[in-house]
């Protein structure tokens, strides 16, 4: 059964490494949903965290294919129960005088922060598990969302 998988890949911090990993997914026919790349405590290495909708077979295939890349040091699947998964959302919503306070009220429930406010619009920043972000977006769906951007999942094993 397909479900969202979080793969954490430790790679050598060389030019072209991201292309190798992303290219491998593309040419084997898999779509990456989210992708983050960041520094690690050792500047020689970077951490790629990506999510994709995969079944068990696809996950093990992709993990063993990825592990073959010369620049890949290690790859592991992260799970909700053994890892902290976080994502940041920035959402810009058109607001009127009447609905502004309602939106702020909802954002407060989700511990969102208003980071920009003008007469016509508001930008809310929200950090949390991907599911929390999904829930917040669905709750404010009846507002006039102008656009939003999510960082994609970053994660650390407990």
């Amino acid at each position: 059964m397909k479900k969202m998988r979080v793969l954490s890949i430790l790679v050598k911090n060389n030019a072209g490494t991201l292309t190798r990993v992303a290219g491998l997914f593309a040419r084997r026919g898999y779509n990456i949903d989210t992708l983050t790349v960041s520094a690690t405590k050792d500047p020689k290495f970077s951490k790629i965290t990506l999510t994709a909708e995969l079944d068990d077979f696809e996950t093990s295939q992709l993990m063993s294919q990825t592990a073959k890349l010369q620049e890949v040091v290690s790859i592991e699947e992260l799970f909700d129960h053994n890892s902290v998964l976080r994502e940041i959302l920035l959402v810009k919503v058109a607001v009127t005088h009447e609905c502004r306070s309602k939106l702020i009220e909802i954002a407060n429930v989700y511990k969102g922060v208003v980071v920009d406010l003008s007469r016509e619009s508001m930008i809310i920043e929200l950090t949390g598990k991907p599911q929390k972000i999904d829930a917040f977006i669905s709750v404010i769906d009846n507002f006039n969302i102008i656009n939003f951007c999510r960082t994609g999942v970053t994660a650390v094993q407990r």
Partner: protein
């Protein structure tokens, strides 16, 4: 002492044991050639007519010798011309080190003359590739390339070197070759479990692929077969690896394999897959492959486990190492009933009809391989002739049958034959090809003449792209779209124009005379033999089919 990058490159190649390079000069590699000028007595350099031929030659050299093939091309078109050759080697897990020049560092990314991002372009057809922009890193990079190409599952590695790197000076202190990466380690209990599967099976069959060849595990495999009376089938990548055809060596399996091989898999209770990947030309229908059997797999590449076929048990490891540990745990068995059943299957094997006058492909191929003996290295292109040759070439030693199995590259043959002959000057080399494949890269005849490389090319000319025509004939209602080839081509004149000797034969007698004469020539020869256009490769299981769908006529 300081040397230019180009000299450092050559010195490192020499250190790595390279004595043969297939390369083509050009603006971005002119410094390499300038350095090579001083090493002509230590490195044999073969210049092909086209970089694709050079890459195929390096590949043929590697396949036939077990060494690493080395090829060089200039930036831009030189590099892109090599890609088909690199991809061919990649699909068959052949170790190559491919060196390309690129424009100087100040021109990189400026769309300079003959600039191409070959590093990006070849990412998906190499195991790894490098772009070298600092002469200080050149020696290490070359050594890494050789280690990566030969570690684990072998494959091509590309090194792209910017032109100024080859001109810049740096110290050269020879470092030792890098060790190969450790082969995957397996536990004794894994071997015990594998042995249990084999000892408990009544109707086991070994399905041996190219990994057995790469690991040089032919003797261990034969020992396993003999010890426990386990019959074996080979893929097209493993022709010759199982030794002579006998009671236990059933021959080739798959789309154009023997009926008996395919029925043996179908009726087995255990498939022992060694160094093979259940390709769609063998496991034609993955839902009905060996339906009653358990399947165990040994491969050096963990990503091959369960990739095409779900297996019951897998050991990740070098086939030779696994077999060495496995052999003492295997019970000797007679398996009379199973071998009798296989003998029954053999009675239904396809036998191509013979003919006294008209040239029949299987008779011709059998004649040539009988004449030239078991040291003969047989090379093919891709198509009908490839399958006929695979069926009849009767090779009994590893590395004596070279073919593009995975990529199926028409035009592979001539370059590969050149590489094979250069690597094995004392062995005869025969290329069987078709009129379609031959004309793709026939310019390499010039290379063979220039370097006096004695190869025999036998062109089975049916004036058509035979394998496509066969599919059109059997599966596409005889709609022969764009497959026929004109009759106006004169292969004898062509050979003469290149400075080679050419023959054309219509009958068996003509061929025998021409062949006998051709073997007395000093240089390369080509022999055209005319065969019937509707000659089929049989038996055939159509793509996606099972043994139920075998076409015999």
């Amino acid at each position: 002492m300081k040397y230019t990058g180009a000299e450092i490159l050559i010195k490192t190649l020499l250190d790595e044991g390279v004595d043969t390079i297939f390369g083509y000069p050009g603006g971005a590699v002119i410094d390499i050639y300038n350095a090579l000028f001083d090493y002509q007595d230590q490195i044999r350099h073969i210049r092909p007519s086209h970089e694709q031929g050079g890459a195929h030659a390096a590949d043929g050299y590697a396949r036939s010798t077990g060494k690493t093939g080395v090829c060089i091309a200039t930036s831009g078109p030189g590099a892109t011309n090599m890609i088909t050759g690199i991809a061919t080697a990649y699909m068959d897990s052949i170790p190559l080190v491919c060196i390309t020049g690129n424009v100087a560092s100040h021109l990189i990314g400026k769309d300079a003359f003959q600039e191409i991002d070959i590093y990006g372009v070849t990412m998906s057809v190499t195991k790894h590739n490098f772009m070298v922009s600092d002469v200080a890193k050149l020696q290490d990079t070359v050594r890494k390339a050789f280690s990566i190409a030969n570690s684990g599952r072998k494959a091509p590695v590309l090194i792209d070197i910017q032109k100024d790197v080859m001109q810049n000076m740096f110290e050269y202190e020879p470092k030792p070759s890098l060790p190969l990466a450790e082969t995957p380690q397996f536990e004794q209990n894994e071997i015990e479990e594998l042995a249990e599967y084999i000892n408990n099976a009544e109707k086991p069959i070994i399905y041996a692929g190219g990994g057995v060849n790469s690991a040089n595990a032919s003797p261990e495999l034969r020992e396993l077969m003999n010890k426990a009376n386990i019959p074996a089938v080979n893929t097209i990548m493993t022709i010759g690896v199982l030794g002579p055809i006998d009671q236990l060596n059933l021959g080739m399996v798959g789309m154009h394999g023997k009926n008996s091989s395919n029925f043996a898999i179908e009726n087995s209770d255990l498939v022992i897959a060694l160094g093979t990947r259940f390709s769609d030309r063998v496991a034609l229908n993955t839902k009905h492959f060996a339906p009653d059997a358990k399947i165990v797999q040994v491969d050096i590449d963990a990503s091959e486990m369960n990739k095409n076929i779900k297996v019951d048990y897998a050991v990740v490891g070098d086939v030779k190492e696994v077999l060495t540990e496995l052999l003492p745990l295997i019970d000797t068995k007679k398996r009379e009933a199973w071998l009798e059943k296989i003998a029954e299957f053999k009675k239904d094997d396809y036998e191509a009809p013979c003919c006294e006058e008209q040239i029949k492909p299987h008779q011709l191929i059998s004649y040539v391989v009988n004449e030239l003996g078991e040291d003969l290295i047989v090379v093919t292109d891709v198509g009908q002739h490839q399958m006929w040759t695979a069926q009849c070439c009767a090779r009994t030693k590893p590395r004596t049958f070279l073919t593009s199995g995975g990529l199926g590259t028409m035009g592979f043959g001539f370059g590969a034959a050149i590489g094979a002959k250069v690597g094995n000057p004392d062995k005869p080399v025969v290329l069987f090809t078709g009129d379609g494949s031959f004309t793709m890269n026939m310019n390499e005849l010039k290379t063979a003449v220039d370097h006096n490389i004695k190869t025999t090319t036998i062109i089975l000319n049916n004036h058509t792209l035979g394998m496509v025509r066969q599919w059109q004939n059997l599966l596409y209602n005889k709609r022969f779209s764009q497959t026929d080839i004109s009759h106006s081509f004169d292969y004898v004149k062509l050979a003469e124009a290149f400075g080679a000797k050419g023959y054309s034969c219509k009958t068996v007698d003509e061929f025998k005379t021409a062949f006998a004469d051709s073997q007395k020539q000093d240089g390369p020869v080509i022999i055209e033999v005319l065969i019937d256009q509707d000659e089929l490769v049989l038996p055939m299981i159509p793509a996606g089919g099972t043994v139920e769908d075998i076409i015999m006529e």
